[in-house]
């Protein structure tokens, strides 16, 4: 038997990576994997027990629970990806400029970020969603608006360190423009730690997004979304407790996957630096 001797960090990364990969595949191939239409209502099959036709049973409107979970994977991963994308689109330029420019620009940007960071992120996201009105798009806007600050601060810190290195001096001496230096020399060097950091946070983002949908502030019924499913199941906690079991279990599993992956990557990254 072949045994793999891997260092501790990469074992966690491997386990987490596999879980994440499985969920990504499920998300991409959702239409082929789901046994039935996640939105199709069958009033004559309400709250039915698991069967061949409905492997995990049906919910209060007779919809296939398994299919809803599978499509929910798509929703959660999509949304987390969009949030991360927007967060990067804001935090990378802001962090780069603050760190590279220094001086008054840096001070002003950091002051704004410090103030924003004083607000508890979930509560600020809650408030922004509240002001914009509940809904999936507004929730994503709120999350991006809240989440970029931490990244911008970290990126700025990294830029401050890299800025002083010799190869930046060399690039300056070779006549590269500021933009060239920022993008080609600094950004490429901060990219990997940022990605590691992001992989650690995807789990938290998925957790919080589903939590907001659970409160009724994000995805709205009948959307196949895990938080919405959990919220729907609350009414049937006495009669059909299995309805609340599966969505929670799936959220826990995917978040464990991302956390393991992030933690493992962080440790592997740390070793590489040593």
């Amino acid at each position: 038997m072949i045994t793999l001797h891997l260092p501790k960090g990469s074992r966690a990364a491997l386990a987490g990576g596999s879980i994440v990969l499985i969920f990504i595949v499920i998300g991409i191939f959702a239409p082929y994997l789901a046994p039935s239409d996640p939105l199709q209502i069958h009033m004559d099959h309400r709250l039915s027990l698991p069967s061949w036709e409905y492997p995990l049973g049906t919910d209060h409107l007779g919809r296939c629970v398994l299919s809803r979970l599978i499509y929910g994977t798509r929703t959660s991963l999509y949304c987390a990806l969009i949030v991360l994308g927007v967060v990067f689109a804001i935090s990378i330029p802001v962090g780069l400029i603050a760190g590279y420019a220094g001086g008054k620009v840096d001070q002003l940007i950091m002051r704004i970020i410090d103030v924003l960071l004083a607000f508890p992120s979930l509560i600020l996201a809650l408030a922004v969603t509240g002001m914009l009105g509940p809904g999936p798009v507004n929730l994503l806007i709120a999350f991006a608006a809240v989440w970029w600050t931490g990244y911008a601060r970290i990126i700025r810190g990294m830029v401050l360190q890299i800025k002083e290195r010799d190869f930046i001096m060399a690039a300056k001496a070779a006549g590269s423009s500021h933009l060239q230096i920022m993008v080609r020399h600094i950004l490429t060097n901060v990219a990997r730690p940022i990605l590691v950091l992001a992989s650690m946070e995807v789990g938290t983002i998925i957790l919080s997004l589903a939590g907001m949908s659970f409160l009724g502030l994000g995805a709205q019924p009948p959307a196949p979304e895990w938080g919405v499913m959990l919220n729907d199941s609350r009414t049937y906690i006495q009669t059909a407790p299995r309805l609340m079991l599966f969505p929670g279990l799936v959220i826990l599993l995917v978040v464990v996957g991302f956390n393991l992956l992030g933690e493992g990557l962080r440790r592997a990254d740390g070793r590489m630096h040593e």
């Binding site: 103030v115 508890p120 979930l122 009105g133 789990g203 959990l230 199941s233």
Partner: protein, 295 residues
């Protein structure tokens, strides 16, 4: 800092789609007259240029007037403060639960690194940070209240109703504490004074409890300041699920009622609470650690 916080909170009001005054009046279901909109806009301080609006608003806030809830008509500050004891009680019990779980596990993990207890601690910490609080709350309700009927289902009646929400809130916090206490205990155990204490023939539990743990405690206090925001956020969900009459649930209700003034007041007060708690934590560190005082 507080000035910045007030700016952001004020700006939040301008995120509302359309004219807040009109939305508030429309919520009654009657199309408002232009005159009524003007009056409401004036009472909300939404007429005039932005900086004057902000000045008016700030001076009112500094006089502790956060405006009135449009759905109940009562002052927002009174409404929030009346729910404050419930939320702080829950938060304190949540912290106690987290510490009850984390202190023994963290210490044991540090004493026996890479042994079974350490691995258990690691798995527990992972589950704790990955567990959806809303799901855990539902599970606790199902097993604790529906099946075993040990605790009341929801609401706030007597001490037993506090158990399930505190567990739900504390479990999520415990993971980070386990990791932190383990790390700081490991660091403390490697110090010379531990060797000295052992060399003086002190009992092992005394070495661990009085010398190592007390020194490992300080980072935990600092972490509390960092986590207080997350705790307040987590309490929103726990309070909603358990129908706990606290501030978080009030805020969620306000969002659905489109009670913007309440949301605004809520955010402002929560940010102030976070700043205050961090201030208290800093002072606490000063009192606990003479080394910081000397610096």
């Amino acid at each position: 800092m507080l000035l910045g916080i007030s700016c952001i909170t004020f700006a939040l009001m301008h995120l509302t789609p359309g004219d807040p005054a009109e939305i508030i009046l429309r919520a009654d279901g009657i199309k408002p007259t232009t005159a009524a909109i003007e009056v409401t806009r004036h009472t909300l301080g939404l007429d005039g240029p932005v900086y004057i609006q902000y000045g008016h608003w700030l001076s009112r806030v500094l006089h502790l007037d956060l405006g009135s809830s449009y759905s109940s008509g009562r002052p927002v500050l009174t409404e929030i403060l009346s729910r404050f004891p419930a939320t702080s009680l829950l938060a304190i019990c949540g912290i106690i639960v987290a510490l009850l779980l984390a202190v023994p596990l963290g210490i044991l993990s540090a004493l026996y690194p890479d042994r079974l207890i350490d691995r258990l601690g690691r798995v527990f910490a992972l589950l704790s940070v990955s567990m959806p609080g809303y799901w855990l709350s539902l599970l606790l309700i199902y097993y604790g209240a529906v099946k075993l009927r040990l605790f009341p289902l929801m609401g706030m009646e007597g001490g037993s109703s506090l158990v399930l929400p505190s567990l739900a809130l504390g479990f999520g916090m415990a993971g980070v504490y386990i990791r932190l206490i383990r790390a700081s205990m490991l660091e403390a155990l490697g110090q010379l004074y531990i060797k000295a204490a052992r060399g003086r023939g002190m009992r092992e539990w005394s070495v661990i409890g009085r010398h190592a743990f007390r020194n490992a405690l300080l980072p935990s206090l600092t972490l509390l300041g960092v986590q207080i925001g997350g705790l307040l956020g987590g309490s929103v969900i726990v309070e909603t699920v358990f129908a706990w009459p606290g501030i978080g649930r009030y805020a969620v209700e306000a969002i659905f009622a489109k009670d913007y003034i309440v949301i605004q007041g809520y955010v402002l007060l929560m940010a102030v609470v976070v700043v205050l708690v961090n201030l208290i934590v800093d002072v606490g560190c000063l009192l606990l650690d003479p080394r910081i005082r000397l610096r």
